[in-house]
């Protein structure tokens, strides 16, 4: 049986590792390659790098990071942040990223998902979505709205409808990030995750809110996620990847234990 995945997310700014709290306050917390290698040794299943570099002229640093990671780490990893075209996606793919994540640019131009999927295959095309809890309305019946630009801009798009649309356009996987839960360490948004996971036929990676191994257990069982993303809980050394995986294994979640 397929194992659930523990995925570590590294926010990279100007080639350095950063971690945001509710997308505003970001602080550098070290070298992304060093962290990634450490997690790889601890049995991490997958990595996600988000490039949060503000200026476009510094983005090529990310290609160097990706190449370096790909030379040292032999598990799958994806890269997101600032991907606006098939050319951007292909460049990262060739540098060694297994998959690319599109987010804001896909909301502005949904065809981008189809184009990347066509060029790289659905299995390499991840649609990431940042989701805000709102009052249900005629245009947002699920009560979950897609926000972009790091959570600053509301789009008027319903998150559930967007997930289904993303799958139809050719995304092979979804990252569902709750803006409400992000950085709180109070647990994932279980209702949101479950509703999306049950509405689509592609894997869902839950994101935002992990603070304890129990939170991963919840989202991988009750939340129906296929994978759970962790960030600060491992970056700051509160838990090791090994601790989390052992905990999940002991609670009966199917998880990869030998590596």
């Amino acid at each position: 049986m397929l194992s659930k995945r523990v995925v570590a997310c590294l926010d990279v700014r100007d080639g350095k590792l950063a971690k945001s709290v509710k997308f505003v306050d970001t602080k550098d917390i070290g070298d992304p390659i060093e962290k990634a290698s450490q997690y790889y040794e601890q049995g991490l299943d997958e990595l996600v790098f988000y490039d949060i570099t503000a200026s476009s002229d510094r983005r090529d640093i990310m290609i160097d990071v990706v190449e370096e990671v790909a030379s040292h780490i032999f598990i799958p990893f994806s890269v997101g942040g600032g991907i606006r075209s098939v050319a951007d996606a292909t460049k990262l793919r060739l540098a060694g990223a297994e998959k690319v994540n599109v987010n804001s640019a896909a909301v502005d131009n949904p065809k981008l998902i189809a184009e990347i999927s066509e060029a790289l295959g659905a299995q390499s095309t991840i649609l990431s979505m940042d989701v805000l809890r709102v009052e249900p309305s005629a245009s947002i019946p699920s009560g979950y709205e897609i926000v972009i630009h790091g959570g600053r801009t509301r789009t008027g798009r319903d998150a559930l409808a967007w997930a289904i649309e993303g799958e139809r356009l050719g995304a092979g996987e979804l990252v569902v990030n709750s803006i409400d839960a992000d950085g709180t360490r109070d647990g994932y948004e279980l209702t949101l995750t479950r509703r999306i996971a049950e509405a689509v036929g592609i894997p869902v990676i839950a994101s935002g809110g992990a603070g304890t191994p129990e939170h991963l257990y919840q989202v991988l069982t009750e939340g129906r996620a296929d994978a759970a993303l962790v960030a600060s809980m491992v970056h700051y050394g509160h838990y090791s990847v090994g601790d989390i995986k052992r905990y999940l294994h002991e609670r009966g979640v199917k998880i990869r234990m030998g590596w």
Binding site: L2, S3, R5, E46, I75, P76, E98, I202, P203, D226
Partner: protein, 206 residues
Amino acid sequence: MLTIVDYNAGNLRSVKRACDAVGLESVFTQDAEQVARADRIIFPGVGHAHSAMQTLCEKGLDQALREAVTRGTPVLGICVGAQLLLDGSEEGPTEGLGLLPGMTRRFALEDPALKVPHIGWNAVLCRRPHPLLAGLGEADELYFVHSYYLDPADPEHVFSVTDYGGEFCSALGRDNLFATQFHPEKSGRLGLDLLQRFARWDGGSC
């Protein structure tokens, strides 16, 4: 020296990096002659079976691979590189190289909780001994990412199976030909070990 068949397959550089990491010398080539004469071949692949097959045929690599297999060259196919060894694939659809009888089919899973693509780590259960799978335990998991699965016609060609809403073939082969649906280059130490075993393999079955 490992020759990696270069036909714009997505995981080409990943395969080379994995070889580099364990000290295996490798080269890329698009040259049919060089493939036909190679000592040892890795035939990688990610992406669409139909366009992959098209590229192979355009470069004459289809014929070169058949020649190499006939000559007894050890060949390791990976993912789409494994799928194309069969007679054909439903992805496209397209013909395959026809080196092993059977088809590549799209997952049609009854359980709605099982997602397609099958992405992630899953156990590889050995069905018959093979030098390249030596050392893999029942609980060992390797990395998969695919929407189509191998369905070889001859059970004798199945070396391992993996469970995803039923068992599918995760490694197949015959004589000097061996291929995996999983990605050794993305499967951590276990995958790197497999690549090292391939570099030492004489092409015999046991």
